[in-house]
């Protein structure tokens, strides 16, 4: 029952995202066709046939009712047809996304897991050792939390790449040295290029995990069962890990939804600083080139990925917290 409810919720969220994606272009002023035409008009006069051709290309030529367009749009989506990219003409949008998605998935996925582990560990310790010097670290982490991702990235690029030359300024790998393949030279090169973007994401999202975990630890440690465990003479480490931390981590896990949204949003801007060949950088290029079908395809993919990650965490939550299983 619990799982079914969750699945139902994610289906509704998915439907909302798809529908938003359909209605935003139709509800807001400005049309993709005009944008492309005004760009073409810079090079010379545009005849009506060109306009028709572009309308066909962008799928803006259908005359049916809004409902018919919506059904057609859903059918296209199910078939994996997201339209044609203008920026990388005539590559289909799905292919462009397929090339950039792995970069972001690895970058955001790995740095989120690292941040989560470090943040939860430090938060557990800070909560356990409350009232000691560790408490004075808390204000410092809150300030780290409010540093804009991209500004931290700019500082790193300026200090470590431009001035010291330790890291590359931009890109996902060295085009002159290696080609994309699953072998050691490419992977090590890509890791070298991904280090600064990952460091930026880890540092600027660490504070939230740490603070949340620390506060929950402090609350949990004043529960009666902790006192009972202490009175039983259990080993302090056992109390800290299996009695306090296990219960205190639950809100952090269920709060994953909100934080993942932040991380994904932050990584889009970070990618633009590093010109990292992932989803975010591609999205910004599509914005600059008025490539609406690519932009909307990317929005859909980002949303679906966030939903999928949250669904996975929600199912995992049932494993960590036995109460959700007992209730269902």
């Amino acid at each position: 029952m619990h799982v079914l409810r969750k699945l139902g919720f994610y289906l509704v969220a998915l439907w909302a995202a798809v529908t938003l994606n359909f209605f935003i272009p139709r509800a807001l002023p400005g049309s993709p066709v005009d944008a492309v035409l005004s760009k073409l008009a810079l090079r010379g006069p545009v005849d009506p046939a060109t306009r028709e051709a572009i309308e066909v290309m962008l799928g803006a030529d259908d005359q049916g009712s809004l409902l018919q367009q919506y059904v057609q749009y859903l059918a296209n989506l199910l078939g994996g047809d997201l339209g044609i990219s203008v920026t990388y003409f005539p590559t289909p949008v799905s292919q462009v996304i397929g090339q950039s998605l792995p970069w972001t998935l690895v970058l955001v996925g790995v740095s989120t897991v690292i941040t989560f582990l470090i943040g939860i560990t430090l938060g557990t310790l800070a909560g356990w050792k409350r009232g000691t010097w560790l408490d004075s670290l808390i204000p410092a982490t809150t300030i780290m939390q409010s540093v804009p991702y991209f500004w931290l990235a700019l500082l790193f690029v300026y200090a470590l790449s431009v001035n010291l030359g330790l890291f590359p300024i931009s890109g996902g790998y060295d085009v002159t040295l290696v080609r994309p393949a699953l072998d050691y030279p490419f992977v090590s090169n890509a890791m070298y290029y991904a280090f600064l973007p990952a460091l930026t994401i880890v540092l600027s999202s660490l504070g939230g995990w740490l603070l949340g975990m620390r506060n929950m630890m402090v609350s949990t440690l004043s529960e009666d069962y902790i006192l009972t465990a202490e009175a039983k003479g259990l080993h302090p480490r056992r109390i800290m890990l299996t009695y306090a931390a296990r219960n205190a981590v639950l809100p952090s896990v269920s709060g994953f939804a909100i934080s993942l949204g932040f991380v994904v949003s932050g990584s889009i801007v970070v990618e633009s600083v590093f010109s990292y060949p992932g989803i975010g950088f591609t999205m910004l290029q599509s914005v600059q080139n008025n490539d609406y079908s690519l932009m909307q395809g990317l929005f859909l993919i980002i949303t679906v990925s966030v939903l999928a990650a949250n669904l996975a965490v929600d199912l995992l939550y049932g494993v960590i917290d036995p109460r959700t299983r007992a209730r269902g």
């Binding site: 919720f9 400005g30 300030i143 804009p148 500004w151 700019l154 690029v157 402090v218 914005v287």
Partner: protein
Amino acid sequence: MTTITEESAQIDETEKTTAPRRRRPATTLVVGLGIVVAIVLFGLVAPFFTQDPLAVSNDGMQGPSAAHLLGTTQTGQDVLAQLAHATRGSLMVGVIVAVLALLLSAFFGILGGYLGGWLDEVFSLFTNVVLILPGLPLMIVIGSYVEQRGLLLIAFVLAITSWAASARVLRSQTLSIRSRDYVHAARIAGEKPWRIISVEILPNLLPVMSSGFVFALITAILGEAGLSFIGLGVVGTQTWGSMLFYAQNGQALTLGGWWWFVPPGFMIAVLGGGLSLINFSIDAIINPRLRNAPANVRRVQKAEKEAGA
């Protein structure tokens, strides 16, 4: 008789020792408020005294000097003047968004939580869906379709993507307050729902709402900065994000113009830090466990030490 007076005397004594501590505002609150007030004053007053932020001159990319305290941009504009105007712009966007987000979250959170039933189901489903959809990509899509991006449009877009988290908090708080005795009493006394919400429930939600407001302010300023940094911010208004956008496009990084891109981000970080400190002390007021825990542990440690000695 004597035992009772002794006990009450003891209670009085403990109250005496803890009362002044409670009345003195926490250092975090003072520091946080100080930072925020200083930045707000800078944004309000400084634009009247600085040079024209858009005036172009021949000394481009000059480091800090007496004529230009924070140096100049690539086109010779005064960075300090830009920073002053950007502070005003960013704060304005932040406050508008925070107010809008507060209203939205209060509407969906409190109304849904209080009325319950199918309305609550629909409201919380809507809240959770908005919460889970990633904000910035949605803002990018909306922002790129609208060519004339005014202040209000950007504020509205930022607000509709940032109210959901505090609506969820408000809903759960409302649910717990709704079933308290005094609310039942008010309902039985025949008071109207809007009066119960505004007189019995709303005052109890104020700490949570103020914490949500401060949080919304941080999120809004960060969100606006991100949006402006990728070139989709308010057209014609200077903010910290638009300064960073022009700095990156003006090759400030590779030309070594740290005075151009460090100040705006620094202002965001410091303001965010100040607001977080305020939020931190609000949290400690709402949740006494957080406030008392460090002191309690210290007391236990002290007692143990004394017992050992």
